[in-house]
Amino acid sequence: MYDQIDQKDLSFVGHDVPRIDAIEKLTGEAAYVSDMILPGMLHAAVKRSPHARARIVRIDTSKAMALPGVRSIVIGDELDYRIGLYVVDKYILAREEVRHYGEAVAAVAADTLIIAKEAVRLIEVEYEPLPAVLAPLDAINIDDPAKPGKAPLVHPKLGEYDHVRNAFTPQPGTNVANYTKFRKGDIDKGFAEADWIVERQYTNPSVQHVPMETHVAIVQWQAGDRITIWTSAQSPYAVRNLFCHSFKIPHKNVRVIIPYIGGGFGGKAGIGIEPLVACLSRKAGGRPVKLQATREEEFSLLPCRSALTYRIKTGVRKDGKIVAQKMTMYWDSGAYADYAVNVTRASGYSCTGPYEIPNAWVDAYTIYTNKPYGTAYRGFGHVEFSWGLERQMDLAARTIGMDPLEFRRLNTLKPGSVTLTGERITEHTGNVTKCIEEAARGIHYGKLTKEEAARQKKTGWKIGKSVAGLQKAPAMPPFTGTAIFLKMNEDGTATANVSLTDMGQGTYTSLAQMLAERLRMPVENIKIAFECDTDRDPYDWQTVASKGLLIAGNAAILAADDLLANAYDMAGQILRALPCDLDHDGKGVFVRHNHEKKISFAEMAAGYAYPDGNGIGGPLVGVGRYIAQGLTNLDKATGQGNPALDWTYGAHGLVAEINEETGEYNILKVCSVFDVGKAINPAEVRGQAVGGMIQGLGTACCEGYIYDAEGRLLNPSFTDNKIFTAMDLPEVIESAVVETAQLDGPFGARGVGEHSMIGVCAALGNAILQVTGAELTHMPIRFEDVWRALQTKQSPDAWIVKSPVKHL
């Protein structure tokens, strides 16, 4: 929904409006679920598996139950409920077998957390350790993943599990939770046409989201199966829907309340600990029970980002045009499919990047292993594959002797280009070429500035520069929708109810700006109710995928328009004018050709009352409903279809200095550019641009799960799983936007919450490569990895499988 309005005519949209939730967060008054204490509330703790895979021989809870203050204990045998977003494969507590290190096998609710933890210690679990399946490539029949392999099955009953059939294809009898494929053009013809072919394998580990507030839920299961869930989750309706499916309870009986959320990043996208806490409450006679994950539990009780192993084979013509690309992705789902199957699908249809590749072939597998399971994570697969794809772009460019920036520019998607799934790009889709060029300009690509040259001379550390492109569309059902209720208050201020959540990304402030723009009243007069409540707020699918601004933004505009239509109706009667002759300002409605004739929103808010007491109109409200338009499921055989609500493009330019002797490096500058369509709140866009970029650099430099040979996680805390601190910032950070209006975006806007994280890892790898020749194929890039790569200094020849010159 885009009307071309010049920025100078916009009063609130496009301005750095302060966050509407700033005051309560700055004073410490914002109450998160972790701050809540309910009358009679019990505290829960979880018994977890020390094994990656083991048969549960016996669980003895008698000593724990005898501990004074223990009110309920649950074990897997008594909870015959399976949960799953797309493949329903997970019990609330492990039954018969544990499938990953850290998996919950029993839980306790007690009067205090100390008692609960002591009770957990007293629960005796006898395990029979079983051989664990740890490496995804060992878990399948690599020659034909559809056929059984040699590895034990993580889910022998995969064939019995319910799953979302129009999107996913599990392979029963194997460890493949989903197989997705994409076919465009003629791959053999493409490779035949190529003068050069390069092929290389890349890997990324699992990564933890690290929201500052760990997962926490309070659940009260009252008589008559009336259940209230307070949870630090991203998506109230998803929690309710999945909960009700598992327990076969009417949706009306379950109320999900989400107050302020201390960060999510995808880790709180679906359902987590809520069902377990609910069972503890039910067994404790309906007392509310609170479970808050410890930081250590965040790493292995709760899900992480999936690891990825992938091969890319790229065919390039001498003139620099990519003519074919084959990509095989092995996503390590861990023990459960959760979002990983959809990460597989979404990364599959995006994995040609912001480039046009006429002949493309993608096989993407989601593979079960005995490790903590993967879920949504900011970037939803794109951070992972963009590492290899953008490294591969540099490899291909170097192979044919072309500058990597020029090579990218030549191959970008442009109006008329066709994507991997057959979507035709238009001039309104966004301009990735411009993003790449501006990122290059921002870092003075291709040369050293005077200061940089002096610095390089002084330190001896080589300064490298690179630019990586990126793109992402929301991964969501084609029919994703939302609704907003807008209510005029008796004083002429307005309150909106939404169940899209604001976990810090700032969407609520943007929604308030759009409502303000439409209602023509100051943002201060508009409230977006911060606590989401499924009993009160209208439906929203999930707060994920960077789609909230577009979909909810449109709904907000429609809600404002609906409220205004109702106001004009009422005002027309009061002012004895036709609605077509009415106009409004921030205070009320007036007759366009006679401004003296006016009626305020305040006077109409509860319905208008004439001096004699007669009333008309009824309370002034508006409803906005919006659903994604024109999207389709993907053809299962070819992957063709239209999955993308919008494509947000971007690029990172990165400058790094590297010590060629030791592998140490410093990041000097990052310049990030995104085509956001319209920056509704530039300061907030910048917050997303910088925050995501830094999170991306964490992934690039230091984060990642490390397991021992038995599948035990060796770094489940901040001691050995570092995240970036203020000391780790690049010396200079610049953020910029291109604004190619999205025609179905509110005020032309599209989402940018995840994009800043994508591509920056590869930009670092490529900058290091550029000046040192260190070829890195694994994230994160530790100094030691650079040092090792410098020892071997592999020539790109190692990955060339076809060449027009005889050097092989």
């Binding site: 100390i114 601190t725 203020a726 100094f783 030691e784």
Partner: protein, 272 residues
Amino acid sequence: MLCEFDYLEPTTLADVLEILGQGDAGVRILAGGTDLLVNIRAGLITPKALVNIKKTAGLDTFAFHPDRGLEIGPAVTINQLITNTEIARRYPLLEQCAEMLASYQLRNRATVIGNIVNASPSADMAPALLCYRAKLTLTSKRGSRKVGIAEFFTGVKKTVLAADEIVEKITIPASEADGKGGYAKLKRIKGHDLGIVGVALHKKQDYIRIAVSASAPTPILAPDFQAKDSPDYIAEQVLAAIKPIDDIRSSREYRRFMASVFVKRLLEEVRA
């Protein structure tokens, strides 16, 4: 969330020694608490009682005496050390190591002696104290004894400190003052992190002393070098003294390589 324990706050050293002298291994001294409370939370230690010595008279000694040298009591925090400009000037290595230790908030609580008593191989204060040949005064009801810092550590998280003893003070000889030096620490991030390997170098008129953290079960002091020794020789000797391991933070090989690089970097700095 911690286990249950008692809390004691003795006001005199005699009271501290009396409590420790009862020979109960479950009684632990609480100084900064930045290691102890973390270990209790992790279930690695389940003490019966903690003895807070921060309010005990005399244990906050922190002064330089021209004859005895610098004396540091067990209540002295890392940040107290950093903010004392006179001492930082006399003993630059102390300040440099201190600044690399943990984060600002932690340095406000963590104590110099606590860092040593915790006896982590990566203890950041150890290299400075080793280079300065600090002496520890270990005191119990039975009396006091002095132990050189190099003899204090016996293994990973192990020292010669007996259950009834407290490190009453650390003494750094006055003769070690006014040297040049530096501390190079390899970390995974630029923010607060445990060291992958750390090298401290202390240079006086006629000798160079080098200590290394995170490269053996204990922090290591290399044999003294002469000011004229070549960087290659010194690096070789340092590498002969350390025994790094492979772990999730680094390989043994890279630790050795970086130790050698740091030795040469620091030598270059002090000779510049």
